[in-house]
Symmetry: D3
Subunit: 132 residues, 6 copies
Amino acid sequence: MFSVTVRDHMMIAHSFRGEVFGPAQRLHGATYVVDATFRRTALDADDIVVDIGRAAEVLHEVLAELNYRNLDDQPELAGVNTSTEALAQVVADRLADRVQAGALGDGAQGLEGLVVTLHESHIAWASYERQL
Amino acid sequence: MFSVTVRDHMMIAHSFRGEVFGPAQRLHGATYVVDATFRRTALDADDIVVDIGRAAEVLHEVLAELNYRNLDDQPELAGVNTSTEALAQVVADRLADRVQAGALGDGAQGLEGLVVTLHESHIAWASYERQL
Amino acid sequence: MFSVTVRDHMMIAHSFRGEVFGPAQRLHGATYVVDATFRRTALDADDIVVDIGRAAEVLHEVLAELNYRNLDDQPELAGVNTSTEALAQVVADRLADRVQAGALGDGAQGLEGLVVTLHESHIAWASYERQL
Amino acid sequence: MFSVTVRDHMMIAHSFRGEVFGPAQRLHGATYVVDATFRRTALDADDIVVDIGRAAEVLHEVLAELNYRNLDDQPELAGVNTSTEALAQVVADRLADRVQAGALGDGAQGLEGLVVTLHESHIAWASYERQL
Amino acid sequence: MFSVTVRDHMMIAHSFRGEVFGPAQRLHGATYVVDATFRRTALDADDIVVDIGRAAEVLHEVLAELNYRNLDDQPELAGVNTSTEALAQVVADRLADRVQAGALGDGAQGLEGLVVTLHESHIAWASYERQL
Amino acid sequence: MFSVTVRDHMMIAHSFRGEVFGPAQRLHGATYVVDATFRRTALDADDIVVDIGRAAEVLHEVLAELNYRNLDDQPELAGVNTSTEALAQVVADRLADRVQAGALGDGAQGLEGLVVTLHESHIAWASYERQL
């Protein structure tokens, strides 16, 4: 199994609902350093998993929809706690939609899996893994 | 599949028995930077894998039992080489005991797996992965 | 010249005023991984620059005043853009006040300088350096 | 499941064939920071996955065959784009050959899997995973 | 004293002349992860050292002149060993030229110093520091 | 001003004397990831600060004298707390002796300064800086 990972980041504000979150129920924020990993069993005709440049662009586009925003105001995220792990799924699902729409080219149709990891600090991070 | 990871560290002395260890048969020591990863298929009612704050506390408690000690003197580790990989299992099993005893709350009963990684330097680390 | 550095972090929301900031004029947020470096010419009677444990506690206390908050609502920060570099000075000055008030013990009266670095992402950070 | 990882690096020149590679079709180069992960279900008689020192030596030998070279001139790599992911497989397969030839000792016959990750920069890396 | 640092990278081929370089006399390559640090005594009217976005763009432009190239073929580098430290000076001097030409805006005229660090691997890096 | 840094590590046991050290008064240990930085105003005739390969070898030799040892048993360290900052000076002074004895070659006689940083964990490190 092969994989390629690209890294980018986003800076957002948000708050959480629920006693378990303690002081994080207040409006605060985070830098998420985001790693997107693309997986496939065999390389394509160019000997790659995916074009790293295009993968980085698509990740940047997905993060741009959330970057420099207060996630509490995003209608599509209403009613969910935008925890690091929940946001990992949001980013992964949006990346998957773009892969399936052809944003990474025809060769990328051979991609089989995707992992998105969001690092919220030097001591905590979360991931979501799904098939493509 | 979702996961959340928290990081902490411990500083211990120990020695190894067996020619394969060369100079590490002498009493020496290590800082282990420890990553504990908790996994589950679906998020809980708060949209999280586990409360990161509580996970960090439980990891800290487990490491406190070993921290600032000479592992050669710990009765429960007698007769085993406390290699990085063997210690990863010790930490993982102690974390699993605490999860099963409820230390991470009721929501954490949905946890399915656990990975513990101990970084012994910038060029070597070891992991142990188990089910919950 | 000797130095000791301890690392912690904080997660805040804020916004900026001024066209130069582009989309960062919107309410967003950041995780700042914060390094505080203490400097002195000679070690104290215990052969240290400062007690690392106490230095870490004092840094944690200073960051707790800002952590999990919207900095736009902090009266003492009104009228200033809380850029990474401006916040580095805020943290450094508050640390200096505590050092001078004796929070790091008598031995720490020999400290001569302080550097605070805030990492806002894997590709950008800022520092402020001052005397003690 | 246990694993042990060792890290080393190599510095090579190469070029790519195919429009997808854009400016990387020109002769350029890379530092690859290489992580080799060895996996097995149970520890050996010395309570380890593999001797870390020997694993590091074998990885160093494999990388020495490629280090400080122009990969475009390596006969055994002719006709393939030496992408980060393709090189991860080259390194993994050569490591596997050495493990099977006994370079890591008899205890290492219990190894079950191998992952090789090549970091090409702070924002991109690739892996190849195989059985042993 | 305040500073702001931005990080980017470039991937180049080159070779060295001189016995001291051993196998690095062969054509090989490197990824340089490049940190550019801008320093000044006081913040500007926007409470910043320099606009991080513009600083990142200018660094990217300077690196683009070298990226994906064989430095042995660059006329302006003829006759010099493009060691990590020598390249740090090349990047710093080109950044300084752009700052002085106004590429970072009028506020950046207050910049006083510049440090460029090139990381060639996880175990070696080099810097060049100069005034502005 | 130019600088070159090389990184290595050592794994030692030790204990501290003095109430300020709390549980670190017990025999424990540490991995120190060690960075040695060499500085000079102008490059040598080979366009380098120092031969990185030789610098790495000399650092490795100095660390080998301490590696895999209980520092409490080292006669030359008797009566001093081997704090991270105190050890940084030990390593720096031993490096300086070797530089002055010619271990880095004639070109290295132009070196002017030296900084040694010991990282004891992901959240604490210490440095010692001196002239050559």
